[in-house]
């Protein structure tokens, strides 16, 4: 029977998770050590920034579990760890892995990276010869469950942060952001995060304009962009596609007339303005101009919360699929244990309510 022992973002704070996390290039060596010393027949270790879990199968389960617990603690080098580890057996372990693969157990509900991480963890263990019949079937099944949740439900769809909504909108306007110029006016923190999101999409270059030129230089350096004086920045608006505004100015610094002139200079090319300053930097009437798209923090936040509501509705459908697949797997496990092997059925689509 399979069991899992580990910790995640719910049971352990980040400084403890860091201590236990296993970089993928060390996984094989560690699995070898753990397998020998715990007398487990099969082992898979899943280690990401939000969790480190060891899935195992052993004939002497209690002994193997105890040994693994000790080894995880000594690997992390902190006795505090013992209070944060959880263990799940049998059906619970199966359900746990399926939930993880589905993104139900993630910090950001429904994120997709975890499925690739499960796959990688499994492949490393399998390549090292640490898995056998049981964990092979279990992990392959978990990948199937993760995919099923993704294709049959809307779980994980829709951007879930202000930064990612801004990127999503930018891509809806411009397509790939690869050749796009970005400018940051002012130097607030959300502006920085949003810019990071945009640069992650390989946007071409970034200009930073700020009232205090030193701060502009600092930020520009961090992003590998160039710094501008504030007035220069305003002038350069004709050459950029995306402007993130977050100055500390007490009233609007970008007027309707200014943007109108900018649009004439741009020959009508679309301009995306993200105004996350409080109070706002851009005259709201700017949004009425042709081919200008102005989003303030509330507009972005509203989309985020709509997506989050949608996500939690879809989470219910995802949970139903995990439930159904767990039952099916436990049925297979029981039959397997009794020596009357059966196949695993493929389910038909559950229609979400």
């Amino acid at each position: 029977m399979p069991f899992v022992i580990g910790l995640n973002h719910v049971t352990a704070p980040v400084d403890l998770r860091e201590k236990v996390a296993v970089p993928s290039h060390q996984l094989t060596d560690l699995l070898k050590l753990w397998k020998e010393h715990s007398r487990s027949e099969e082992l898979v270790c899943l280690s990401t920034c939000n969790r480190t879990e060891v899935y195992a199968q052993a004939s002497d389960e209690p002994a193997s579990r105890e040994a693994l617990r000790r080894m995880i603690i000594s690997h992390g080098g902190d006795t505090e760890l013992s209070r944060h580890l959880y263990v799940r057996d049998n059906g619970d372990a199966v359900q746990h892995l399926f939930s993880v693969a589905a993104g139900l157990d993630s910090m950001v509900q429904g994120e997709h990276e975890i499925l690739a991480q499960v796959k990688q963890a499994y492949q490393i263990a399998q390549a090292g010869g640490f898995t056998g019949k049981l964990l092979n079937v279990l992990f392959q099944r978990s990948l199937y469950v993760g995919k099923r949740v993704r294709t049959e439900t809307g779980f994980g769809e829709g951007a879930a942060s202000v930064g990612s909504v801004a990127v999503g909108m930018a891509e809806r306007i411009f397509g790939k952001l690869i050749d796009r110029q970005i400018m940051i006016l002012g130097a607030g923190q959300i502006a920085e995060i949003t810019a990071k999101h945009l640069l992650a999409q390989k946007a071409k270059s970034i200009l930073v304009a700020n009232r205090t030129f030193d701060r502009a230089c600092e930020l520009a350096k961090a992003f590998g962009g160039s710094a501008l004086h504030f007035q220069e920045g305003l002038k350069k608006m004709a050459e950029v596609d995306i402007v993130i505004c977050s100055t500390a100015a007490p009233r609007t610094v970008i007027s309707l007339d200014h943007v109108r002139r900018v649009m004439t200079a741009r020959k009508g090319k679309a301009l995306f303005l993200i105004d996350i300053a409080m109070p706002r930097d851009v005259d709201p009437a700017v949004n009425n101009l042709e081919n200008v798209y102005l989003y303030n923090i509330d507009d972005l936040q509203q989309i985020v919360s709509k997506n989050q509501t949608k996500r939690s509705q879809e989470a219910e459908s995802a949970k139903r699929i995990v439930q159904q697949e767990t039952q099916e797997f436990v049925r297979w496990l029981d039959a397997h244990k009794q020596g009357t092997p059966t196949g695993l059925r493929t389910h038909h689509k559950i229609h979400s309510a």
Partner: protein
Amino acid sequence: MTPPNWIWLHIPLLALSYLMLLGAAGVSAVFIVQERRIKKHEALAVTSSLPPLEAMERFIHRMIVFAFPLLTLGILLGGHWAVFTRQRYWGKDPTEILSVITWLTYAIYLALHKWAGWRGRRSTYLALIGFGVVLATLITLYYFSPLHKIQEALV
């Protein structure tokens, strides 16, 4: 006098150009819906998987750029044909009038795009209106044009 035998090119040239203009109009309709969503900050704008605005706009423009010379040539050939059948280049036939309006609409679209920086919504509306005129032309062609006598030809 009989018209030269290449005069029939009038028909395929216009058919091909209308087909491209139909493509431009179809994408224009999608563009208008999606552009409004983005302008109104709707969540649906991000979640729906419609193409980016600029890509749609480029497609519309390209279609019209290709269709326009065919349209021009097709209309000119039509006029040439009328010289043989009616002894005049251009008259008050409704199809002839609407054809010229079609041509003008797309000419305005291209001119504004090139010289006035018309992009996005307004210019897309022009593409849609242009195709509206094309449809009107085709209707008159079938029902009202004494020149074309399509109904008789089809019987």
